[in-house]
């Protein structure tokens, strides 16, 4: 699963999400992509599940690009632990996404195969998404 190799701070604040994706909101590599419609966190497990769903559906027919990276550590206190005694340990990693962000791109596969693969990937994600297609010039 995806996680940073090197980090500057072990634990981060929860943070607030506002606004829309100003960068990473257009298709850059593939012909089809998944655009997220709300803000939220996407865990490294969800990214991996979506990637696997896509690659298994297209088999050898296409190439997948992952446009997000889970670089935010999320902590959790151990079970049956009393409150206090400091922040919990890092449990998993998430990518913070804002509306409009392209999460995945797919290229090199035909329309039907691409739509099938991307709809399977959308089913693995926790946020409402839309499949977008490159506009032909």
């Amino acid at each position: 699963m995806l996680s940073p190799k090197k980090i500057r701070h072990r634990k981060t604040f929860k943070g607030r999400m506002k606004g829309v994706a100003n960068r990473g909101a257009t298709l850059e590599f593939g012909d089809y992509g998944i655009k997220v419609l709300t803000c939220g966190w996407i865990t490294s497990r969800q990214i991996e599940a979506a990637r696997v769903a896509m690659t298994r559906h297209v088999k050898r027919g296409g190439k997948v690009w992952i446009r997000i990276f889970p670089d935010k550590p999320i902590t959790k206190k151990a079970q049956e632990t009393r409150m206090g005694k400091g922040k919990g340990s890092v449990e998993y990693w998430v990518a913070v996404v804002r509306p409009g962000r392209i999460l995945f791109e797919l290229g090199g596969a035909d329309d039907e195969l691409s739509m099938g693969a991307l709809s399977r990937a959308v089913a693995k994600l926790p946020l409402p998404c839309r499949i977008v297609k490159r506009e032909e010039l």
Binding site: R10, D31, G108
Partner: protein
């Protein structure tokens, strides 16, 4: 050569986000036209403009813009679309920049790069993956000579071969801005699905006790990763 698209526009007097929002609510798109003597603030009908952009190729074609001013006079200007702002979520066009062309002066526009011909040999016989990397190129040419698209025939490509911008066959009088060594299309070798490696996260600049804590913090995640 691309066809000329006819669109109507009206001169707008106000500016700012309030005026722009009211225009959008009324089904019009705020736009600006420059390149001539003065920059002119305009508004264009959203439906017509969006249709011209998505279906008729208004992003590279020459547009004959019938501009109606506040006094009701109509003037026709030849323009090209210079830039477009779209809503990140809905894709709705928010603003358009139009560039007024002058006779005998070259304009720079972005045209699509389309694949023509059969599937590459590398895809049919060698199970390669066709990768179309460059979908549009910026070109310089006279307004009347803007091509509809640049066509690329990739049917002779084997696995590991590619076509670059320098190999493109361009119409006469067209000059490409995009770097000549940029890859347009390539045929890649098929890749077997591989599981990404689980990497241990290292705290940057960690030393002594803190470093140990950093390593401990990631232990949980790593352990779970190996379980799944």
């Amino acid at each position: 050569m691309s066809t000329t698209i006819v669109l109507s526009a009206t001169v707008r007097s106000g500016s700012g986000k309030g005026v722009a929002r009211k225009l959008r609510a009324a089904g019009r798109i705020p736009a600006v036209m420059y390149g001539g003597d003065l920059a002119v603030s305009l508004s264009v009908p959203e439906r017509e403009f969006t249709r011209a952009y998505t279906h008729d190729g208004a992003n590279h074609a020459l547009i004959a813009l019938n501009i109606t001013d506040e006094a009701g006079r109509t003037e026709t200007k030849k323009v090209v679309l210079r830039s477009l702002q779209q809503d990140e979520v809905t894709g709705r066009i928010v603003h358009a920049d139009l560039y007024e062309t002058r006779k005998g002066h070259k304009v720079s526009v972005t045209v699509g790069v389309h694949l023509v011909g059969d599937e590459p040999i590398g895809v049919i016989e060698e199970e390669g993956i066709l990768q179309h990397l460059l979908h549009e190129v910026e070109i310089d040419c006279l307004p009347e000579a803007i091509p509809d698209s640049i066509e690329v025939d990739a049917s002779a490509l084997h696995v590991g071969e590619s076509i670059h911008v320098a190999d493109l066959k361009l119409p006469e009088g067209v000059h490409v801005h995009t770097s000549a060594d940029t890859t347009v299309v390539a045929v890649l070798a098929p890749r077997v699905e591989e599981e990404p490696e689980v990497v241990e996260t290292v705290l940057e600049g960690a030393e002594g006790a803190e470093g140990t804590e950093g390593a401990e913090g990631t232990e949980g995640a790593e352990g779970e990763a190996s379980e799944s």
